[in-house]
Symmetry: D2
Subunit: 208 residues, 4 copies
């Protein structure tokens, strides 16, 4: 039996999110909502790119495949009892959905964990829509997974923007000549690209 | 060197919370606020008892001692740099306070984790007061620890009330004669005592 | 749709563990092996009782139902691709099995987490048998769940025996008259019953 | 009060590890020991680079600063009781050291968590030396932090080598012309550089 290639996993994740009604833009909307208070110049495209970036992580990809599989099997009444009823009801003391989703949130720091908890309680945007259980759909796992994607993408932006601020400060500072590429060398978030930010007058600028 | 007795640890926790301005009633207020929507007959005293119960756990006691110690040492400027400045600022990307607090939340299920995240973002009641950093006080760890106590106590009530509802149903049901003490035997929350609940007409009832 | 009673969940867990070849005694054997170095007088029955006690927790029960369901569906080739292949291979970078199992381990402290990690690597006893994948069986989730049960039961014993030692010390000490029931009241493990221990001369004693 | 620059944090971490007797090479030795069974061609330098890479993460840097601070303050008898005694004894049921260390392990997946648990029990190499408590030194937090660094660096290698294998397969395969840079674009570990591997005949090769 041949090992599954990462690209096949990645493609399956994107396809299944689409099939289950989760548009990446709807997740980016949540990220924007969570972060715009801290970063007034934050651009929506930055949020969307961050959502795409966290969706490239194996831990989260696997969790999405497992969670959606259980939702779909439950919709088709293919789970054995009593699990079928427990998941169909999305009952309050069932915690495997949060546990599975939390597993991939941890990767983005404890701040991602608190953001996850917040989203899971507040259920903004697409998360609330998924939670409504209209039309015989089961989204017991999916709503938590979307919280996980949004929380991770939010935390990733916070870490990256810090790196970028420090890089900009270095560039503006006295040490300009001494610090070629320092932004990357000291990157504490492990992310290299530059986040474009819209400044107050509407023109776009990049970090360097 | 003799081992520290649990009672000594417990006493120190209660004394230090008091010294740092955290009244158990203020934590119980948060628990009540979190749970009253789900349980309209919930009594404040039940919330206070739940706060006291989670404070008997070693994991949480140790976290409280460590967190308050770091806050106090920081107030006294006794930490080495750069940790002194990082904790004094309670800066956004410092996550050890959440990590330490989360460790004892996990004990009450993934629902406790989401409640923790919610409280950590919303900062209701005493949590907000601690977060305000007035008068040279440092509460970088303490505010997260209070979130942890409140989240654990909330989750504990949710689990216990479920046990109790099922026990009541059993008592009312056909199996009455067959089930002496079943509520305890099958207790999924591992808690034995009965939660007094105020019924709609204001009189008090117990679960059995 | 009526809510599932805790007893129904509990019964299903016991039945499915049995069906999948996991005898509680085999899990107790692992607990005994993990703890006997620390407690030379530990009895096997104490280990078995601890296994039974952790299996009464909702968080663990739900994880077991979800994990076994996925294993069984995979055996029957009923999962969609690429998840079917990933779970069938129990491939190294798939972490949802550990994540799901870890969720219920956290409830017994960070010591339970390290014990879980140890068991997951060492694969002693029944865990190794499950890992061998003989005869077309899939145990991708079950082996981690057994690690979780054994780690939780081990940690529970460590916490309880500490409570008991302190209770015994109190009974032997000067404060005898002052401390009716104090051992229970201050129990940091939240467990009330007494663990029988075999003393060096082979006779049995209880903690009080 | 000015915010602390990431570079200052990074430098402090490296200096304190050195001061407390933790050479990065000693941590790399553990990583090599953990991974060489899976990757026979693994080079020691790859392990050292992975240790350095995980030490660039904020979450881990902060945990190291907090943990070493507590160890040092305990050595100097500057903690208040009963925490002073609890940490000095590194007592079995104290779990804040593991909790703090675990917080940064989660970032590298659930496989990193099980590796952490394994190292924490087995105490190989430098971890055992730190655990021995010779000469009045306190390493209650540091030994767990070293487990955390080693576990994270091990897991990072596992994820990266998978990315690399898939990239190599793509380069060798039919789709060569179609996949310029695919290895990076689909990188599930989020790491871009190439890990040098020694092939069987002793010559060195890179992934592309």
């Amino acid at each position: 039996m041949e090992r599954v290639h990462s690209q096949v996993v990645q493609d399956a994740v994107m396809r299944k999110l689409e099939e289950r009604g989760v548009k990446l833009q709807a997740v980016a909307d949540i990220v924007y909502e969570m972060q715009r208070h801290y970063y007034p110049h934050l651009q929506m495209d930055t949020c969307l790119q961050s959502v795409i970036a966290v969706l490239e992580k194996r831990e989260l990809q696997h969790a999405i495949l497992v969670g959606i599989e259980l939702d779909v099997l439950c919709e088709k009444q293919l789970l054995s009892e009593p699990l079928q009823t427990i998941i169909a009801q999305d009952e309050g003391l069932f915690g495997c959905d949060e546990t599975l989703a939390l597993g991939s949130v941890f990767g983005y720091g404890s701040i991602a964990v608190t953001t996850f908890g917040h989203l899971d309680k507040q259920k903004v945007g697409i998360i609330r829509q998924l939670d409504t259980k209209a039309g015989g759909k089961v989204h017991t796992f999916l709503d938590d997974l979307v919280c996980s994607i949004a929380a991770s993408a939010s935390s990733r932006i916070a870490h990256k923007l810090r790196d970028q601020e420090e890089a900009e400060a270095a560039v503006r500072g006295l040490h300009l000549a001494d610090l070629p590429g320092e932004a990357n060398d000291t990157s504490a978030s492990g992310v290299d690209e530059v986040i474009p930010m819209q400044v107050a007058d509407g023109t776009e600028t990049a970090a360097s």
